[in-house]
Structures are given as structure tokens and as C-alpha cells.
């Protein structure tokens, strides 16, 4: 049920982001979606790509600090209050969202959100129990 995400530590230096995306591009890796969290000194680039292992290897070879994280992709009805319903359900079960971001493509009529939870397994149980659709990684990588 998980989706694999790679995270890359990037200093706030000119051209670093361009370099990461160029390395991936040259290796033939397609970025499915991304988010960038930043502070004044550094940023963390989080990516979902079509080939996680390859992306990790090529970036490590070029000296980047890379880690793999498990995140959860959830389908969200594309209507007012769609996201609020999900967050409310999580809140009711005491599950924290560490961070989240939107997937670029739609899945049918639904939007897709990527979540990082403090308790992934519990979150999945809660969401499926309430009838939310969770997208497995294989589907997401190739949407």
C-alpha cells in the first residue's frame, strides 16, 4: 500500500536544484511529482519517480545525501471539503500528518494527495476503514 519517495538534502546554493533534476533527466528517470521544503540554509527535495532505486543510485554516485521514505497516496474526491474529510478522519484517530503535497496527475475523477504520517500502518487502517481509496506505488509511478 506504500509509495516510495526519495528525499534529497540540498544546500541553498545556486544551481543545486537544477543539478539534481539534470542528473535524473540524464539517467532517463521521470519525475512523477515533487515537493520542496526549505529553510534559510537548506532544503529537502522529495520526489516520487518512476524508478526509485535507479534515482537513488545515480544521485548517491554524485555525492548527494539521499534517503528513501514510505509515504501514502490517497485519492481525494475533487469537491469542496474532500480533503477536510480525510484530515478529520485522521484527526479523530490521533494520527499526525508530518507533511503532505499534491500529486500532479488525477486518478480518474479524483485528485491524489501524498501523505507522510507519523504512524503509517495505523493511518492506512483508518483510511481504508473509512472507505478512502489508497493508491499502491506501482499504479502511481506509471499514471
Amino acid at each position: 500500500m506504500h509509495v516510495e519517495q526519495i528525499s534529497i538534502f540540498i544546500e541553498n546554493k545556486f544551481g543545486r536544484l537544477a543539478e539534481v533534476t539534470r542528473i535524473l533527466g540524464d539517467a532517463g528517470i521521470n519525475i512523477r511529482t515533487l515537493s520542496l521544503a526549505d529553510t534559510s540554509d537548506f532544503g529537502i527535495l522529495r520526489l516520487i519517480v518512476n524508478d526509485t532505486e535507479k534515482a537513488r543510485t545515480v544521485l548517491k554516485e554524485r555525492g548527494f545525501t539521499v534517503s528513501k521514505t514510505e509515504v501514502v497516496a490517497v485519492e481525494i474526491p475533487d469537491r469542496p471539503g474532500g480533503l477536510a474529510d480525510i484530515l478529520q478522519a485522521l484527526d479523530a484517530d490521533g494520527i499526525n500528518v508530518e507533511y503532505m503535497y499534491a500529486f500532479v496527475e488525477r486518478c480518474g475523477q479524483n485528485a491524489v494527495m501524498i501523505f507522510r504520517f507519523d504512524e503509517t500502518a495505523k493511518a492506512i487502517t483508518t483510511l481504508t476503514g473509512r472507505g478512502f481509496q489508497i493508491l499502491p506505488g506501482e499504479r502511481l509511478y506509471n499514471i
Binding site: Q5, S7, F9, E11, I44, G63, T65, R116
Partner: protein, 434 residues
């Protein structure tokens, strides 16, 4: 004006005779009471009786900071603990500080030398001394305090920090003398300006600044912004504390070192050879009156030169030039001594930190800043910002707790800190250009 005219203006011949007498007596004391010196003197084949002239000093062994560390805490003391009335300590290169003990007589001598220093700087009875040197294990605060009382001036024991309060007290109490680090004086002047207070309007007339290296340009800057006469003071806890040497306000050209208590030498730090008058090298000091911890040829690691030329002020004591640097890698950050190895051991105690770090020291708005760059390898990396920020804060907190300096930890990409084949470059000090 002198505090102790007889001694401060003693003709050089008499001064040298006094030094020899005191040197022999000191060596006689330590060869009896300090096992470290017993052994070191034996090894060098010297004892008190074989010292016949001041030139024989060069035959005596050096004492290093490491020797004091190895004797932690009390093994360098030359008197029983019943005789020790005060203990101070300064930072060492590892976790343990260097400990010094003072007898009642040592405190009296220190107070007198500090009182002499105040007078040399142009301070009198009736002055109100605003003492912003830190009180505590650091010798600065209490050393200046006792000297001020010995002189009979009024002393305000402010200690460091709390700048707004410092300014208010200085303004309301009519302080006439300021003692602190030179950079802090400028920082206070800037802070006062923001409050709408012009330091030039205050009653300050003398500033006695030390505990960190500064330049003639900085003196001009301070004198202009604070409207006072700024003099340089030198001291180190191993030798005594503040008041080992001071500039006279008449010449402000070199710091008189109180030669009836200390014998200064300048040596080549590589070979240990004694250098001549005017030659630049490492300052080595022998304490000839200290009772608690007498030191023979202590390697200060400060680079300077010595002159015996008569001074316009009338003092006959030699002058050392402004410190131009260090013969080791010690940094002085806001008056606090910091060795890169201390920061390294703090970093290494944090799980996952790799031994690649870089210290960047700078001076911004007149205050020293310390940036510690730490490489984020896979073991440290978390994809959540809060964990990385907590890591930085944890290191900053430990540096503050262990070393007493405020730092800013900056996480950088792996391999972004230059590797070198020989000795790694660990420090970039941008203050030197200032």
C-alpha cells in the same frame, strides 16, 4: 601617576637583581613542592643553586598548557590546599579546564598589579568603574574588581551580557571607566544608539579593553564612537589573570609587563630559542612571586615582541607589542578561548556526525560570530525539516553549555567541505581583515 612608584620605576639594574633573587627563590620552592617541576628540573639538570644570572633562565624547561591539563585539577599547586583561597579555571582543549589556585598573597599581588594597571590607564580614586568582564571561573571579572577596590575606585560588578541594562546603569550611575572586550564596547555603543543614547554624551573617559586581539584601527574606531581613551590590557589565567601587562595612557605604545612579578621572554616557537629585543616570536612568561601555581617559562602561544626602551610614562618595565596572533590554533570568540578540537569532540559525540566540519569566525556588527558547518551524511539525514533543525539546535546548545560561546550550526551537503591531504583546514577566520 603611579600606584607603586618605587617598584614601577625601579632602575633596570635593580629590577634585574630583584628578578634573579625572586627567580631563584621560586625555583627553590617548586623543586621542593611540585613533583612535575622536580622531575622537569632534574631532567634539565638545573636547580635553584645553579641559577647564577637571568641568562640561566634559558636553561630551564618550558611549561605547556598540556602540563597543566595533565595535572588536573590540583597537582601543579605548590602549596597545600589550606593555603589556597581562590580557584579559577579557563577552558582547555578537551572537556577539562585548566585550573589555577591563588594564595592570599597571590590575590594581594594580583590586586596590586591590577590597581597599577588601572592607574597606568589613567584611572584614579573617585572614578566609577563599570566592570563588564565576566564574573565567575573566568579571571576577568574578579581580577579587575579586586584591582579597582585596591585602588580605591568605585566598582560596579556588572559582568557580561544584558546590554540594555549595562547601558542604563552606565548612564544613570555616571560610570567613568569601562572594562570589557573591545568588541563588546562597540556593540554596546551601537545598541545605545538604537535606544537614542549617544555614548559620547556619557561620562566615560577611559576604556580598558582586553581578552581578545584588536587593532590600532579598532582603537581609533572605539575612541571616536565612545569618546574615551582606550587602552589595551593583557592577561591570562595560567599566569594570573588580567593585569599581567597594560598600556600606559601617555604612550599607548606597547604594554608594560610587571617585571617585578613576571619575567617575559620571546622565543622562536619552532626551535624554542630565545630571541632578541624587537624580534617577533612567542611570549613565554615565568612567574617569580606566585605561590599557588608558580610557572616556569610558560608557553603563552601569543605572538608579540619585547622592548626595553625607556617609556615617556617613566615606568622602567619592558613593553610587549600588541598581540599579533597565536602560535597554536586557539580562537578567541567574544573573549572566550576556543580550540577547534573542543568543537570537534562535541560534534563527534553526536551520533552520525562525520569528522568533516568547518568553523567560520566573523565579526558582524562588532560581535564575533561562529558558524559551524556540519556535513549531512546518510546517518544524519532525515527527510523532515524539524528533525534536522532539532539536530542543529542540539549541537548549538552543547557548544554553548560546554564552551560558553554562541554558535550557529549550518548543515551542508556531504563533500562540500574541502578535504585536504595534510592537515585539514578547519577554521576560516574572516575577522583579520576587519
Amino acid at each position: 601617576m603611579f600606584f607603586n612608584e618605587d617598584f614601577e620605576t625601579l632602575p633596570r639594574e635593580a629590577l634585574r637583581a630583584l628578578q634573579l633573587k625572586r627567580l631563584k627563590a621560586m625555583v627553590a620552592r617548586v623543586q621542593e613542592s611540585v613533583p612535575f617541576y622536580q622531575e622537569a628540573l632534574k631532567k634539565a639538570g638545573v636547580n635553584a643553586d645553579s641559577i647564577n644570572s637571568l641568562e640561566d633562565l634559558a636553561r630551564l624547561p618550558f611549561t605547556y598548557k598540556q602540563d597543566m591539563r595533565d595535572s588536573y585539577p590540583y597537582r601543579m599547586f605548590a602549596v597545600p590546599m589550606e593555603e589556597i583561597v581562590r580557584i579559577h579555571a579557563s577552558s582547555g582543549t578537551t572537556g577539562k579546564p585548566t585550573v589555577v589556585g591563588y594564595t592570599k598573597k597571590d590575590i594581594e599581588n594580583w590586586s596590586e598589579l591590577m590597581a597599577r594597571s588601572f592607574v597606568a590607564a589613567g584611572v584614579h580614586r573617585g572614578d566609577i568603574i563599570h566592570n563588564a568582564y565576566g564574573y565567575g571561573l573566568f579571571t576577568g571579572g574578579l581580577g579587575a574588581h579586586y584591582g579597582a577596590e585596591r585602588l580605591g575606585a568605585s566598582v560596579i560588578p556588572m559582568s557580561g551580557g544584558n546590554t540594555k541594562k549595562q547601558i542604563m546603569i552606565m548612564q544613570d550611575f555616571g560610570s567613568t571607566v569601562l572594562t570589557c572586550t573591545p568588541s563588546y564596547s562597540l556593540f554596546m555603543a551601537e545598541a545605545a544608539k538604537e535606544e537614542g543614547i549617544d555614548f559620547r554624551e556619557l561620562k566615560l573617559k577611559v576604556g580598558i579593553f582586553g581578552a581578545e586581539p584588536w587593532s590600532e584601527e579598532m582603537r581609533a574606531d572605539i575612541e571616536g564612537k565612545l569618546n574615551l581613551s582606550a587602552v589595551d590590557i593583557y592577561g591570562l589565567s595560567e599566569i594570573m589573570g588580567p593585569g599581567v601587562a597594560i598600556e600606559c595612557h601617555q604612550a599607548k605604545k606597547g604594554l608594560h609587563i610587571w617585571e617585578d612579578h613576571f619575567i617575559p621572554e620571546i622565543i622562536n616557537p619552532e626551535t624554542g630559542a630565545v630571541l632578541g629585543e624587537g624580534e617577533e616570536g612567542e611570549l613565554v612568561i615565568t612567574t617569580i612571586t606566585k605561590e599557588g601555581i608558580p610557572l616556569i617559562r610558560y608557553r603563552t602561544r601569543d605572538i608579540t615582541s619585547l622592548t626595553y626602551e625607556p617609556c615617556v610614562c617613566g615606568r622602567t618595565h619592558a613593553r610587549i607589542a600588541r598581540m599579533s596572533g597565536r602560535s597554536d590554533d586557539m580562537l578567541i570568540i567574544r573573549g572566550v578561548n576556543v580550540f577547534p578540537s573542543q568543537i570537534e569532540s562535541i560534534l563527534m559525540s553526536v551520533e552520525g556526525v562525520e569528522p568533516h566540519y568547518l568553523l567560520i569566525v566573523d565579526r558582524k556588527e562588532n560581535l564575533d560570530t561562529l558558524e559551524v558547518q556540519v556535513e549531512v551524511g546518510e546517518h544524519l539525514f532525515s527527510d523532515e525539516i524539524k528533525h534536522l533543525q532539532a539536530l542543529s539546535q542540539r549541537i548549538e546548545k552543547q557548544i554553548k553549555e560546554m564552551l560558553g560561546v554562541t554558535s550557529r550550526v549550518r548543515l551542508v551537503e556531504p563533500k562540500s567541505i574541502a578535504r585536504s591531504e595534510g592537515k585539514a583546514k578547519r577554521v576560516i577566520d574572516n575577522r583579520k581583515k576587519a
